[in-house]
Symmetry: C2
Subunit: 316 residues, 2 copies
């Protein structure tokens, strides 16, 4: 272990801190999917989590880890996805203001959700440069603390608590899988597994249309997504140095999946498990079904990351 790596104690403290603000989500199984995969799959249902995704874990821990003085002017972030809602709700739970920079093209339903938690939304042009510039202006104007969606150890320690609960209920798994986008969840997951169940393999699924994690992991250096494109819109971000570090050190494999495989896996979960998952969330199951032979007979935990979909715009 590097002396600077997040420790097991950090993660356990994060869990104690966030517990009053999150759901302990259920673990579900499906006879049909087990039969299809010829494996025993345990789905950790973070789609049932507050705000409909695991991101509330990291956002809550990041805010609670800061002292009252640091938080006196609130928190800020840029996101059009689940991290935006997570920061908005975590700020509301702590009675501090939240400022969320969103592209002016963000779906109204997502803007309303963030505003519904009492956060102020600041619109910007839909480019990475505009996002970062608008965020900087917002931080300067308000004095709020920026909470990055994944390049932040307190966020990673918070995301790690999903795997902590999974291993507590299902010790001795052969494999734990989750998707990789910016790498916050897979980093936290890999750390927990490393500390508590070192014989368990950690595997990430990634859309081939946004495959920077796969390429960076192979190359041993950061290679960004230039034109990421996938239905799995929660996984378009590129790794940071921090998340690449954890992935290099603690993740055993990254499996790429194409769009049709993502849609098929999403549909399978909807039809057979009768639960709603978003496209990003289907990626690890798609990866598993893609490399079925390697997982035959194994016990596999999959973190189902979220269920926030636009019901008027489904891919099937």
């Amino acid at each position: 272990m590097d002396t600077t790596d997040i420790t097991l104690e950090n993660i356990q403290q994060a869990y104690a801190r966030i517990k009053p603000y999150i759901h302990r989500t259920p673990i579900l199984t499906s006879g049909t999917i087990n039969k299809m995969a010829d494996a025993s799959i345990y789905f950790k249902c973070e789609n049932f989590q507050k705000i409909g995704a695991f991101k509330i874990r990291g956002a809550t821990n990041a805010i609670l880890s800061l002292g009252a003085a640091a938080l006196k002017n609130g928190v800020a972030t840029h996101s059009s996805g689940n991290h935006a809602q997570a920061i908005a709700l975590a700020a509301k739970n702590n009675n501090i203001p939240a400022y969320i920079v969103m592209p002016e093209t963000a779906p109204k339903v997502k803007v309303s959700a963030v505003q519904g938690y009492g956060a102020e939304v600041i619109f910007c042009a839909p480019t990475q440069a505009a996002r970062e510039e608008t965020l900087e202006q917002t931080v300067t104007r308000t004095g709020a603390v920026f909470i990055h969606p994944y390049d932040n150890d307190a966020v990673i320690a918070g995301q790690a608590t999903a795997a902590l609960e999974l291993l507590e209920e299902q010790p001795g798994l052969d494999v734990v899988m989750c998707p990789v986008g910016g790498g916050g969840l897979i980093s936290g997951t890999a750390l927990v597994v490393h500390y508590l169940s070192p014989q368990t393999r950690v595997v990430a699924g990634e859309p081939s249309g946004a495959d920077d994690a796969f390429r960076s992991w192979k190359a041993g250096k950061l290679l960004k997504n230039e034109q990421p494109a996938s239905l799995a819109d929660g996984l378009l971000a590129s790794l940071s140095g921090r998340t690449l570090h954890y992935i290099q050190k603690y993740v055993d494999d990254i499996i790429l999946v194409d769009e049709q495989e993502i849609i098929a896996a999403m549909r399978l979960v909807w039809e057979r498990m009768k639960i709603i998952i978003e496209p990003s969330c289907a990626v690890p199951l798609a990866a598993l079904l893609n490399e079925k032979a390697a997982y035959r007979g194994k016990s596999i935990g999959i973190i189902l990351t979220g269920g926030n979909v636009d019901l008027r715009n489904l891919p099937f």
Copy 2:
């Protein structure tokens, strides 16, 4: 109690019989929906049940209640819905043939599901008369036993076991709600509540486009649906004398809901609970939200009956 009414012992025996063949489904809650209703709602998730609906309970009990001699030529029914799949799977589990009469207009996905369980599908014209005639011919040809979807005490005792599990986990509920179509589920539910928790009210929700139960209950005699029409396609059947008897005796209220209320309640559950329910299944929640004032502050169990929807044809 009438000497001929289903007894608590009948229901407990049914439960012991079917237990190896069914899931004990989870009970979920939603903070958002509780807030909206200003009540504590416990959702019994039969959408997670085998075949995706509670009907496997009644079908399994009906088959297991018959002796080997009666079953030697298999079982038959007419249904294009969840009862068809339930009979097909229950027959398969017992290694006997099943013959399912379905209208030639039935969706292919439902026909395939039934055939997937190994049942023989016999097509007929899409009228009630053709169904009944084709069923009669099938029974004559094969010697199979007809298992009616609800006008059958063994089926009702089986359906009753969902409420048995609900009351075991959540004793002392103020109200238990479920939908009413032909009346099998509400009859079984009302009987269990009567025996185990007589202070608990039993309330049914019914689509106003197929309101025979409401009218029959008010009139004290069977009044059929002539041209039933509702998205809640599992609730188009009319009561039988048997189910009207149980409803008259043990059900406290029937609440009508319109199509828009059904769609809104279905959407609410999809969006907030991230679980898939079919339109029929949304009816009791729609009823509750329709008469919110009467249920304020109460603890309410709702049986979520099923999750079999055509994902290419959603009402929103």
